[in-house]
Assembly symmetry: D2
């Protein structure tokens, strides 16, 4: 059993991490670190956790203990840089849920994140933890995992099996994704008020979303070299991402070959469910699943996928990455079938 530190425990992602760590059978203890919330307790921050989780104090990020085994970092972009080098330098396992180590090249950080990377030597050694795709053996001797972004998780899990096998056949790929407002975090901005967002929808950060280079980086590694666009939207819902990728091919698609390619990747997958109809977002919210459907018509492929942005797109995948890091069942603490132990329900 291990001990865990959750750095940045007061946001929506941190909350989910606390919930998952609280019931994980291989975690003997966990600490939670915050900045503004230091001095509060888990129950004062999250009253719904009374009777569910332990009520430990939120400790200060200025005094992070160095004697824990694994550290989850759930901080705004640019903040993880302050902690990761020291933790990794002390031989700790670190799973960063932000974007500070996802990209491979430091130049990209200046362009997309508007900061100069101060520990770029870690960009190459980190593992990009797309947990349902990365094989178990890649986790050996890894100290730093960059947990994928929410949109990249939904997009890459649904595109990679195709790209890997059919990159040469592609004319263009256009991904349109919608996210619930929890993706914008817990800090208050008028534009995310229920008064503004109920019954509303809108595109944002068009051609400028930081998740775009993250997605492209993964696609390029699989030989993709076609035009790609990625457009993000807000959904009038709290939780979830729905991604629709329109793929135009040079020739008529062979549905059987395509299906085989997805089956080959996911047939033993615990968390990716291939669907015969487009998934409903409600099928995955509250879970670590990613549901995917492929619809083919002539030379057009419409691939839809759905995830919970806070679980599969953040805290759930982070736990899954921890499980793989230690060689445990990757579903530990995330799901239970039949008469076993832990359920993630709605």
């Amino acid at each position: 059993m291990i001990s865990v530190g959750i750095i940045g425990g007061s946001g929506y992602t941190g909350k989910k991490l606390i919930q998952f760590c609280n019931i994980h059978k291989e975690i003997s203890s966990y600490k939670v670190y915050g900045s503004k919330t230091a001095g509060e307790t888990v129950h004062s921050l999250f009253p719904d956790f009374v009777g569910i989780t332990k009520n430990i104090a939120i400790e200060s990020v200025d005094n992070i203990d160095l004697d824990l085994d694994v550290y989850f970092i759930a901080l705004p972009h640019g903040e993880a840089l302050k902690y990761v080098p020291k933790l990794v330098g002390n031989g700790k396992k670190v799973i960063d849920l932000g974007g500070d180590y996802r990209l491979d090249f430091e130049e990209l950080y200046i362009d997309w994140y508007k900061f100069t990377h101060t520990s770029s030597y870690l960009l190459k050694s980190k593992l990009y933890g797309l947990a349902d795709i990365v094989p178990q053996e890649k986790y050996n001797n890894v100290n730093l995992i960059a947990n994928p972004g929410c949109y990249p998780t939904a997009t890459l899990l649904s595109l990679l099996p195709f790209i890997t096998n059919f990159a040469e056949d592609i004319l263009t790929v256009s991904t349109v994704a919608y996210s619930g407002t929890s993706g914008a975090g817990k800090s208050a901005k008028s534009e995310y008020l229920l008064t503004e967002m109920a019954g509303n929808a809108r595109a944002y950060n068009v051609n400028k979303h930081r998740h775009q280079p993250e997605i492209l980086q993964a696609l390029y590694k699989q030989g993709f070299h076609s035009p790609f666009s990625f457009t993000t939207h807000l959904l009038p819902a709290a939780v979830g991402i729905y991604a629709t990728s329109s793929v135009h091919l040079k020739e008529k698609a062979d549905i059987n070959k395509i299906t085989d390619a997805y089956q080959a990747v996911y047939e033993n997958s615990k968390f990716v469910r291939l669907r015969e109809v487009p998934p409903q977002l409600s099928w995955v919210t509250g879970t670590n699943f990613c549901d995917i459907n492929i619809s083919v018509e002539g030379s057009t492929l419409i691939i839809t996928s759905a995830i919970d942005n806070l679980i599969k797109g953040a805290a759930g995948q982070a736990i899954q990455n921890m499980n793989k890091l230690y060689g445990w069942d990757e579903g530990l603490g995330l799901i239970t079938k039949e008469v076993e132990s832990v359920s993630v329900c709605q």
Copy 2:
């Protein structure tokens, strides 16, 4: 370990029962019975259960096996009458989640439910299973449990500690409750379409709701004899009940005595959380909790309570009743603290 039958497994309540039974450590097997849905499977009915629950067939209500230990009945009002006498007669344990056995007097069924009761002899022997109030010893030798209605659960848990101790001091009690649309079930009616209900709210069944005699019956047993009103509303949300009881007293209230009365009832409660501020509905949705706040000003008491109508108000309380029927930990299969086993999360 026991075997379980879920009769009426295709509605919202039946779905929750399947989910809870699937992970319950003391349930070795369960069967699901439906009428129109017989022949389908759990996964075809509930695609989100793929990878979460077993995919058993829905069997016909016309062929209910008599060799199981406990039967949950989640049928429309009047339907349980067809099955309960036979099951009880065969020595089975039955937990009815409908209203067919909740009232003590058969006359009330004609007035409120518009049917003539055909097994009224069971009305006296049944246990009204308000699980967070009924003491463990009352479950001995019980064969039939009438699982309380959703509104009565929210209302009675929040009122009974007061009524029991201060019935004589009361001038009037007025309960106003709002429910999510899942309370209206899964059958399609235009009035419950998202198009109609988004941004909407309305009172319904004013002075005519079947849960009113159920609540009064329980209040009267505690010596209540003051004017009472109960008004139900629809909330533009899928899940949850929020009940607000305005209690006018003959004299100035003594907050300390009142608080003591609630503490005495709930201090060791696993699922009732007394709150210092009015609860948020979101604190309890997805859980078996009932959160309660008491606010006193002069001779006025405002008591607010919140539950998940499908869990604490139906399937969750039914599981809790089963746990108490067998003398197990009442939280089994419903909650886990720290490094134990089962989590009920949002």
Copy 3:
């Protein structure tokens, strides 16, 4: 035709005022004043007004022109005090949509609003403009109208006809009201994010809401002297108030007399619609209507009412008050029947 000043034009209420003033046939011109938003334009603040309203500049509240005819004030509580005395002193007509002049006694401001009133001499001369109840002749020679609060509008319109006629018969009155989140204004607070409020509901300011003394003041004037409680809640919707008043009587109610009392008050009303069933909130959102239903059972009266909090509960009633102040048709600029002029649409 008149000229109008809108002081505080950047919030939800100010926005509605601009919309109504823009189409009002008796308003020749209007100016909008803001503090932080001074320098912006109506179209930059409200992009949805492009092509609908004029795009005038937001001027500074520090330089309010004194040559306009009527001033609407839509500022946070306590702010109107800065402007009203000077405007009234200059012989202007002022309609204050905030609470600064609603109460009759300055002592109440210290208790409920936590400020010392600096122009209490106006509290007596102001007209409390509950427009659907106050007769036309009361508007003669009025300079200052305190526009009623949103909750008081919904509550008083539904209670006053009863209280006025049957005060002696009442045991207790308990009003429970739910409001959309727009009632909390446009300033950003985490608790009103869609992420927090979707699927949520909660009571707030229990026994402490500033609208309580405002309601009681009006009830007392009609001879009411029974116990009263008033409990406010948030609804997971942007717009609207739904108020449910549970009235317990000393004896069995006479439904005919009660109905007659309401008919007498509202039979020629343009904006109050008496309903045979409880109103739906969606029937009134986007309009200046108040829909009311009275349900009687024995000695219990359940009165439900619904309004749009930003229109009937604020800007719409303010326009109606202006219309009455000038002796115009009270529906001018608010509604059109058949082939006339202004539409009330969704």
Copy 4:
């Protein structure tokens, strides 16, 4: 002034037609025809119209008067075939809001609508009434207008100015559109219950939506011959369509030329608003506007557009078409600026 018949007045679109006809200055009278709802009245069907519209009786579609001037048809697909030939044959003006006459070729009806067209001779003579694009002179001597579908309206208004000018430069176009649930109509299906759709989203009719041939037909006429895909989704909202078109070009786009092309088409448009940022759906709901934004990055064009599906995508555009048919101001009854007549409010 003219007389109008609304055939199919009980659905969401019919309701909007009644509302618009009720205030239209050039409509002297209107009748409403229904099938199941014949015998009811406008107020019994739509209680929110009390005090807003006249309360005329719903007459039977079996007895449609032939002495009116214009007929709006808001019936399910395939139903208009029963009425249009006779009405047109009698020299009446007909505006069909369904799909029965939108496509130019009868073969397409068999493929996409699954019926054999019985008045295909009208397919050529009808005007496809994309009102913000079709020039006024095309309305001369027109008897039958096929009112465009909701998705085609949002898609074509945003794509046509580009396609018309730059068809040769296009590699692929992929449109992803989300609609509120009102698009599915008022008939009750479980899948559109608030309980199912709150917090939900999903793609549907992938590669099979009837609006696809309608869109392509219009694009082809402008010289478009590149791969196109069109994917429809449900939004957890009642009203509105948000369409996002990802256009990949053969070479780097020239933003100035593109902007000029849109300006040329829409600079005098009453209802199309070109936006510098992606529109919000809430900017257009309740109005007849279509808001459009074009974002260019390299050789990628992201075009977003938003409409109210029931107004601009149905009843509003139908009124606009009527206005153009008679040579009136196309905004008559739909919008008012400054001190004129009709307001479009939220």
